[in-house]
């Protein structure tokens, strides 16, 4: 039930926030913050209580799940489930959600209620994406998060907002619909093979596809995720959307929406189409590397600070693409770390840019310079996060990129060499930010205040996490380990279990032990994984 409430609280909170708009603007902010805090505390407690069992991998594939009938006529179920991977992403979602409410505290002054309604509904949609185990439900949430984002960019964005909002929406919607066709095709292929028409993830894992069909369907899924990620050549909605969105929008876009693409590849593309993905992997890795280098090059060329950070996202997400298609444990763990570390570090940079813009009303790098004297706190924090972004050891991004490179080295040495060059490039553009904004000569005399206490709280919490990620990455690696092992060790694992279930056990056992059969099965699985654990440690 916790999964249902995580989403429901945000949806209800969003509606309440909208209703309270007429009453009191502060009430709106407080309600949104409370809804997010309650959710965040819930998920943190859930994480802590389940940490040991996740680490040992003694529970089932899913820590907890809910599975309700939704549209039984078409085998559509309301099936949410959480494992280590989604747990971390949910926590990230809520954390960044809280921060985006905090950063818009003074930035958003118009139509505050509707703004927070949109924020909470996007976050609910994103959580739905991370939790859905029914492909129809997944697509449903995938679309639900678009409309509020469209409004956020289109209403509260900067100068060129309408164009950016259109572009964002049409790119994502078009690619999403192609994925929907692939989902439907998979549904019918599976249905015609087994007679069981269902959108259930675990059932569809066992679909046997001809290699051409698998390749086409894989591409259908991949294109949706590649647009979201974004991978070259589908990236060009991103700079516009990120630049024009208000700060909270940019934080959610960079920190969360991009991660749904990576999540989709890990959760759906690899397990559903293992062979096709393997076949496509070299091209995908090349696309990843191209993203790293091209993004970095473009980031270096920008004069608009926000655009610079946006292109740096393209570059960082290249590592994610590279890691996913390197297809080994190290790289996967790196990808997870990159998703979280990038969410935090880029989120922080966007907040920094946002607060600069709020103070001096420009994002033009050529107008800034020598700001450190006036805003030392901002400068120091900016330094920390640009260093994080360029991959300084001790901070989260280093661990992530190191793991990805170590993993991809096993897959392809040449590609890894090219990708490693990206680290050099990121150093160049990151240091350029510091040089242009905080050091150097003063171009203009700006009058601006340093971070206030609310902003220091925001930044402080992000600093804690990014340092934690850099120094104790094991906390996060342990949480995602089981999921990643499953991806690696045997992508068809569930298929085998499933087939056994379907063919031999199900009917007879269900008749004899309507309840007992499942328990027995569960025990079996946990016994096996427990055994594996012991053997592994020896």
């Amino acid at each position: 039930m916790i999964l249902f409430w995580l989403i429901a609280i945000l949806l209800i909170g969003g509606l309440l926030a909208w209703l309270f708009e007429k009453v009191n603007v502060t009430a709106v902010r407080v309600i949104s913050l409370l809804a997010l805090l309650v959710d965040f505390i819930m998920i943190v407690i859930f994480w802590i209580t389940n940490y040991d069992s996740i680490k040992l991998g003694i529970n089932n594939d899913w820590i907890t799940e809910i599975n309700w009938n939704w549209i039984p006529e078409f085998g559509i179920r309301f099936h949410l489930a959480i494992d280590g991977l989604s747990l971390m992403l949910i926590a990230l979602t809520l954390f960044l959600g809280i921060l985006s409410v905090l950063t818009s505290w003074s930035e958003i002054r118009e139509r505050v209620g509707f703004f927070h309604f949109n924020i909470l509904w996007i976050l609910a949609g994103i959580m739905g994406v991370f939790l859905s185990l029914d492909l129809f439900l997944f697509y449903f949430f995938w679309e639900v998060m678009l409309i509020p984002m469209y409004f956020i960019i289109g209403i509260w964005g900067h100068e060129n907002r309408v164009y950016a909002a259109f572009k964002f929406f049409i790119f994502t919607q078009a690619s999403g619909l192609l994925m929907f066709i692939a989902i439907l095709a998979l549904y019918f292929i599976h249905g015609s093979q087994t007679g069981n028409y269902t959108f259930e993830y675990e059932a569809l894992l066992g679909t046997s596809l001809s290699s051409t069909a698998a390749m086409w369907l894989m591409l259908g899924f991949l294109i949706a995720f590649a647009v979201k990620l974004p991978a070259i050549p589908f990236h060009n909605w991103l700079p516009d959307a990120h630049t024009e969105a208000p700060t909270a929008g940019s934080v959610i876009l960079a920190g969360l929406l991009l991660k749904t693409g990576a999540y989709g590849m890990l959760r759906f593309v690899l397990p559903l189409f293992p062979l096709a993905a393997k076949e496509f992997a070299p091209i995908a890795m090349l696309i990843g590397v191209a993203g790293i280098l091209y993004g970095a090059k473009l980031a270096f060329a920008q004069t608009d600070l926000k655009r610079l950070v946006a292109y740096s996202s393209v570059s960082h997400m290249g590592f994610v693409m590279l890691g996913i298609f390197a297809m080994n444990q190290l790289a996967f763990q790196g990808v997870i770390m990159q998703m979280i570390a990038h969410g935090i570090s880029t989120g922080a940079l966007f907040i920094l840019v946002g607060s600069l813009q709020e103070r001096i009303h420009t994002r033009d790098l050529n107008q800034m310079g020598g700001l450190w004297e006036q805003v030392p706190r901002m400068g120091a924090i900016g330094l920390l996060f640009t260093l994080a972004s360029l991959g300084l050891p001790g901070l989260g991004n280093f661990v992530a990129e190191f793991l990805v490179l170590a993993g991809s080295y096993q897959a392809s040495i040449y590609i890894t060499v090219l990708a490693a060059l990206g680290l050099v490039a990121s150093t160049i553009y990151s240091l350029r930010i510091m040089q242009k904004v905080f050091y150097g000569n003063k171009v203009k005399e700006w009058k601006l205040n340093d971070f206030n206490s609310r902003e220091m709280i925001t930044m402080g919490s992000m600093i804690i996490i990014i340092v934690w990620l850099g120094i104790f990455p094991q906390t996060f690696l342990n949480t995602s380990k089981k999921t990643m092992e499953n991806l690696i060790s045997n992508p068809n694992r569930i298929k085998i279990v499933n087939n056994v279930k379907q063919n031999s056990f199900e009917l007879s056992n269900k008749l004899i032990f309507p309840q007992g059969y499942k328990i027995q099965n569960d025990l079996n699985i946990s016994y096996i994984s427990f055994n594996k654990k012991i053997m592994g440690e020896r």
């Binding site: 549209i71 449903f140 679309e143 409004f151 309408v162 929907f180 439907l184 095709a185 019918f188």
Partner: protein, 473 residues
Amino acid sequence: MNLFPILPLIILSGTSILIILLIAVNRNYNISFGLNLIGLSAAFISLFYISRELPQNISNFLIIDNYALFFIGLLIAASFTVSLLSYSHLKNYSGSREEYYVLLLIATLGSSVLVCSNNFVSFFLGLEVLSVSLYILIAYTREFQRSLEAGIKYLILAAASSAFLLFGMALLYAEYGTMNFIGISMGFKSIGVTPLVLTGFGMMIVGIGFKLAVVPFHMWTPDVYEGASAPVTAFIATVSKGGMFALLLRFFFTINGYQYHSIILIFSIIAIASMIGGNLLALFQQNVKRILAYSSIAHLGYLLVAFISGNKLTTEAVTFYLVAYFITIIGALGIVTILSNKEKEAEDLDDYKGLFWRRPLIAAIFTAMLLSLAGIPLTAGFIGKYLLLAAGIGSTLWLLSIVLVLSSVIGLYYYLRIITAMYSTKGDVDEKKLSPVFSVGGSIALAFLTLFLVWLGVFPSGLMAMIKTFVGL
């Protein structure tokens, strides 16, 4: 002959005669409006009484079965909603207002005859009853040049297309010697598709395609949508097109047209042309009613995809989509109605600038309707589009499915244009330009439509189960 099963049709015609008589004695707008609502409700309720002894053939012309029952119910409900929306719109009209409801009832009757006909005679009869009342409804506010122009345009084109239809029917009759749908399916088997039959079918497709407004028979749509008053436009978009589509589906299933590839090919070409053409033409329109007109062309194209698929999902998908489309388009045009005043309809894109900040509720409802047209989740349109795609992919119609998807992305652009206008912060429209009359009936109707829209988008199971029990061909 047992006439009990056609009780709803009798009630509809009886009510219209009653109102005509009443007008002769005493013109009273409120009473004729009330009688119209009572007649529609009575016809709707009578559906439950006749449902017990079905299916029934009424002589050789009509068949009352569950399928007919469902669609008659749907058409009556649509007509009821349109009446509610028309009330305040027509109240301030200076000409004679009472006949409007007579025509509405007769048109509903015509469309209802269409959905239960199983013979060319009743088919044509229903079609003409529907068309003739539509001529007048479209040109009802005849002192506006636009309405008159639209009415005449519709009259000429509809008459021409009826002639095609009739000629086509005659050719089929010449070959098979029967006008009954079942007789024609027999003829298909025994005599086969001769050139004469193919020509006949081609001509019938012209007539049917005109009523459905699919490319290349779509020319009248934007002008008529623009010229007719918004409630009448809603009526054309739903009752007229819906009735025709239901008939087409029944006809095709009865004669089992899916085995004739040349006919399927024609429909596929029409579907693709409608999807692409409708969406492209809508892109740069500045008039909301014209946008909706072109988008309706595209939507009929989407419907044809499911129609062509011809598998067990087809009727369900088509019916669900029609229900969703009825709700959505009546809702959208209902908004236009509510925002219009006596002199001017709220149809320019500029009229909607900043609407959200002036009338948040109305703008929110309109947004929901537009998103449903675009097929975004949480609305009935999404489930509808899912069903259409599922039907298409279920029969491996890859080309049609992909065209559906890509063209609906184009469609997204112009729906977003309207939405963007409503949410634009620079709303410099002065309030006086549009002074909507508040109407209780219209507002309640819109509230219910929105409720249905979201309800069907989140819990479609109920309607789907109902469609499954009723609409099996």
